[in-house]
Amino acid sequence: MKKTIFIAAISALSVSLTSAQPVAIIIKSEKVTGIPLREVNNATWNTATAFTIPVFPQNITTPMLTAPSVKNLKVKSINDGTTVAFLLEWTDSTKDIIVDADKFCDQVAIQLPMHPDTLPIFMMGNKKGRVHIIHWKGIWQNDIENGFRDVKDAYPNYWADIYPMAEKQGDGTNGKFAKDISALDYSKGKGKNFMPASYAGNPMSIFDRKEPSEECMAEGFGTLTTQTNQNATAWGVWENNTWKVIFTRPLVSSDKDDAPLTAPTKIAFAIWNGHFDNISGKKHYTQWIDFITQK
C-alpha cells in the first residue's frame, strides 16, 4: 500500500514538473580540442551552449527541503573525444566550504542512468535501476586548496593535554606524548583505533584527498555507495556570488560501474546550499534531462 502511494506521488510530481518545463531541454556536449580541467573561465567554455535548468526543493522523502534557496542551474558540456566535461554554475551569495557540528558546505552532483533504456527514478534511482553519481563538496575543495581542516585549524586556541594513543610520539620538545599530531599521522598507526570511521575505511574520512569529488552509485534513497574506482575529477571556484564547478570523466570508461555516455542518455543534477543547512535529502534537484554527446 505504501509503495503504491509512493509511486503515485512520484508520478504526480513528474507530471507537474513536465508541465513546468514547456520546452524540452536537450543538453549537448560539444566537441572541442582540449578540456580545461580546473579553469572555469577558460575560453573553451564559450564554445558550449549554456542551458538554464530550474531546480526544485526535494519533497518526496524525509528529510525534505522546506525552504529552497536556489532557483536555477546553468549547465555547459564539452568533450574532446576522450573526456567529457560539465561546467555547472549557480548563484550562491555565501561561500560555505567547511563542516562542523553546526556548519554545512555547498555541494553539487550530477547523476547518470546505468541503463537509459529502462530509466530509473530520477532521484537516486531505484532497486535494480542503478544510477552513477559524481559529487563535489566545498569541504573537499577546501581540503585540497588549503590542506585538511584539522582541529587546530578550526580552533587555534583549543587545548588537548595529550593524544596518548598516537603512534608517532612527541619530538622531544613536546614531552613523551604527542600533542599537536595531525589527523593524517594519527590515522597511520594504532591511533587509528580512536578514529572509528577512518578505521572502517569510510570515504568521508580521507585526510589526504586528491580530488574534491567522489564517484558513487545508488539504487534508491539511502543507498549511495562509493565506487571502487575513482576516475572522475572536479574543481570549484566561487566568484561574484556564483559557484562554478567543473566535472570531468572519461567518455568511454573501463569502469563497469560508470554510466555509458556515447549513446543519447539522460542526466540529472542536485545542489545543496550549506548556508541554509542543506544536507542529505535537503537538496535542490532536477528531473531527468536529455543528454547527447557530439562526436
Binding site: N59, T61, T62, P63, M64, L65, T66, V99, D100, A101, D102, K103, I139, R149, D150, V151, A154, Y158, A160, Y163, P164, M165, I181, A183, Y186, G191, N193, F194, M195, P196, A197, S198, Y199, A200, G201, N202, M204, S205, F221, G222, T223, L224, D277, I279, S280, G281
Partner: protein, 376 residues
Amino acid sequence: MATVKNWQLKKDMKYPYDESRPNKQIAYVFDTNKCIACQTCTVACKTTWTSGKGEETMFFNNVETKPYGGYPLKWDLNTLKMMGEQSWDKATGAYKGKTIFDDTKGENVNGWRPAERDYAFPNMGEDECSANVNKGAFFSGIHDTWMFYLARICNHCTYPGCLAACPRKAIYKRPEDGIVLIDESRCRGYKECVKACPYKKTFFNMVTRTSEKCIGCYPLIEQGEQPRCVQTCIGKIRMQGFLSKPGEAKADNPIDQIVHIKKIALPLYPQYGTEPNVYYIPPIHVPTDFLHQMFGPGVDKAVEMYKNLKNDPDLLAAFLLFGNTPKTIHHYKREGDFTVGYNEAGEVLTKVPMTEPVYVRPYDDKDHGTFRHNTP
C-alpha cells in the same frame, strides 16, 4: 509513520518503523541518590573510547548537576520547549502530550541541532544549588534549595530518535542485545542523528566527518561483562542487565524487579517517546514538581518506596548487588542472610550480605596507643 506501543507512555504513538523489540534489551539502573559526580565513569569512558582526534569535546558518558547543568548546553530544555505542553492523565497514568515523532515538519523527528559552543561547557552549573540558602534554613524532609547529579549515557532506546532520522539507515539496533550503533563505514556525517537524539548522545566528529555515539561497550557485553562506566563506578550507583519485554517481567531478574515490578527506577524524560532504557532512581530530597517533568508520574511512589527500602527485602537484595561484580547479573536470589547474583548459565557471580556486620572498636585503642572514632 507506523503505530507502535510505548509502555512508558501507556499509549500507542507514531514511529517511522514498525515495532521490533530485540531478543534482549540492554538496560541500566542509575541511583541518583548515591552519585557524587566523581566523574570516574566519564574518564573511564573517555579514555576507553574517545581519545582520538575530533573527539576532544565528545562525552559518551557525562555527569551533570541539575537543575542548571547540561551537556551539551540546554540539551533537555530546548527539546522540552519545542514539544509544547506535556501532561499525564492522572487516572490512567497515560501521557497526553506530543512526542518527538509528532510535528516533524518534513523530517522523521522533531529535533534541534546544537551549535559548536554548546559543547564547550561540559561542567556548566556544576555543584550549583537551585537557589541561595537562606540564613536560618533547616531541613524539613524536602530541601528548599537543592541540586543533584545526573549521570548520562546513551539510552539505547527501544525507539531511537537517531535511528529514525538517519536517511541512510546507517544506525541500527542489534537484535541480540538492543544496543544502538552507528555503522562507521556507512555514515556520511549528515548530522540528522545529532539533531534528532533528544538526549544529544550522538556527536559529530569534525575530523572524521561522521557521527559517533556510545556503543554500550558491546565488546564487554559480548563477554558477559558490564560496561566500563558501570564497572568503574566507585559509588556503586549503577547496574547493567537486560530488561524483559513489557508483560514478561521475571521477578528473579534484578533489572525487571527494579523497573517493571517495583517501578522504583524511572525513564529519563519518557515524554520524548523513545522508550529510553537507562532507568533512574529519582533523588528523594528534590521537590517532586521538578522530578515529575524529568521522570514522569511514577516519581512519588518511587521516592516513597526508596525511603522504605529496608522493609522490602526482595528489592533491597537487588540493590545490594550494585557494583559487586564486573559481570552482568541475569538472575538473583535471596539465600539466608545473603543475596546472590547469577549469570545467564546459572553460575554464581557474587554473594553479598543483606546486613553488613557491625564492629565496635574501643575509643581508646590501647594496642596502638591511639584514639579513634567509629563511623557507622
